[in-house]
Symmetry: C2
Subunit: 139 residues, 2 copies
C-alpha cells in the first residue's frame, strides 16, 4: 500500500495523478515548484525502479516540465531527486527565474518557505490542473 | 558539432562515453560525483530532448547510479539537472554520505571545491572506468 510521506503531505498540495506519479505543488509562493511522487511503496532511488517505471517517470518529468514552461515561462527548469531528508522517492521540477530569491543557487536548503495565501493557492492549483488536463494525461 | 562547455572542461575530467552521454568525474574529492553530458549540440532542458533520447538518458542515469552505489556504497544518491550557471544540459549523479561536508543540504552551491591530488584522481578514474566497463556499456 503506497502512502505519501508525512512531510510531503504537510509541505505540498495535490495537483493531479499521472499514470505512475502523483503531482504535488510545493507550497512555496516564491517558486513554481512541482513534485512528482511515484506511487511505489518503499521506492527510494531512481535506479531501483524497473525499466518501464523509469521510462514512465521520465515522460512524466517531461510532461511536468512542459506544463511549467508553458504556464510560467521560467528562464530555466531545475529537476532533482535528492531525498536526503525525505527518503520517499520524489522528483522536484521547478521553474527558475533570474530574479527569483535563490538565483543562481539551488532552491533546496534555501531558507524559509513562503506558503501561498489561500486564494492564490487555489488559483494556482486550478491553473496547473487545467494545464495538465489540456495535455490529456490526467487519469 | 557538439562541444563540451568550457566550465565543465575545467572542473571535471572525462571517465568514458556512453551511447548518448559523456561521463565526467567532477573534480571535488569531497563527494563521489559524476556528470552526464548528452552529446547534443544546443540541448538545454531534459524535456526538449526527443523521447528516445530521454529514455536513453534515464538508462544512463540508472547505470551511473549503479556504478556509484556499488563502488562507494553511499547512503543516498542525489540526481539533478539544474543548469542555472552552465546552461549546457548536464545531469549530476552524486553519492551522499551522512558524514559528508554538505549533508543533508544539496552539494550545488556548497562552498569551495577540493580537487583530488593527482595520484588519487588517476586512481579514482581507473576505478570508475573499470566499473562502467564491467557493466559492458563503454563504447
Amino acid at each position: 500500500m503506497f502512502r505519501l510521506h508525512g512531510q510531503l503531505e504537510k509541505d505540498a498540495v495535490p495537483v493531479c495523478d499521472l499514470p505512475l506519479s502523483s503531482v504535488l505543488l510545493f507550497n512555496d509562493a516564491r517558486f513554481p515548484w512541482l513534485i512528482l511522487v511515484p506511487r511505489i511503496e518503499g521506492a527510494r532511488e531512481l535506479y531501483s525502479l524497473d525499466g518501464d517505471e523509469r521510462v514512465t517517470l521520465m515522460e512524466e518529468i517531461a510532461l511536468a516540465s512542459g506544463v511549467l514552461q508553458r504556464t510560467f515561462e521560467p528562464y530555466k527548469l531545475n529537476v532533482g531527486a535528492l531525498g536526503n531528508i525525505v527518503e520517499q522517492l520524489h522528483v522536484h521540477v521547478i521553474g527558475r527565474f533570474k530574479h527569483d530569491a535563490a538565483w543562481p543557487g539551488p532552491v533546496w536548503g534555501f531558507q524559509g518557505r513562503q506558503p501561498y495565501p489561500p486564494d492564490a493557492l487555489s488559483g494556482r492549483l486550478k491553473t496547473l490542473q487545467d494545464a495538465f488536463e489540456k495535455d490529456g494525461r490526467i487519469r
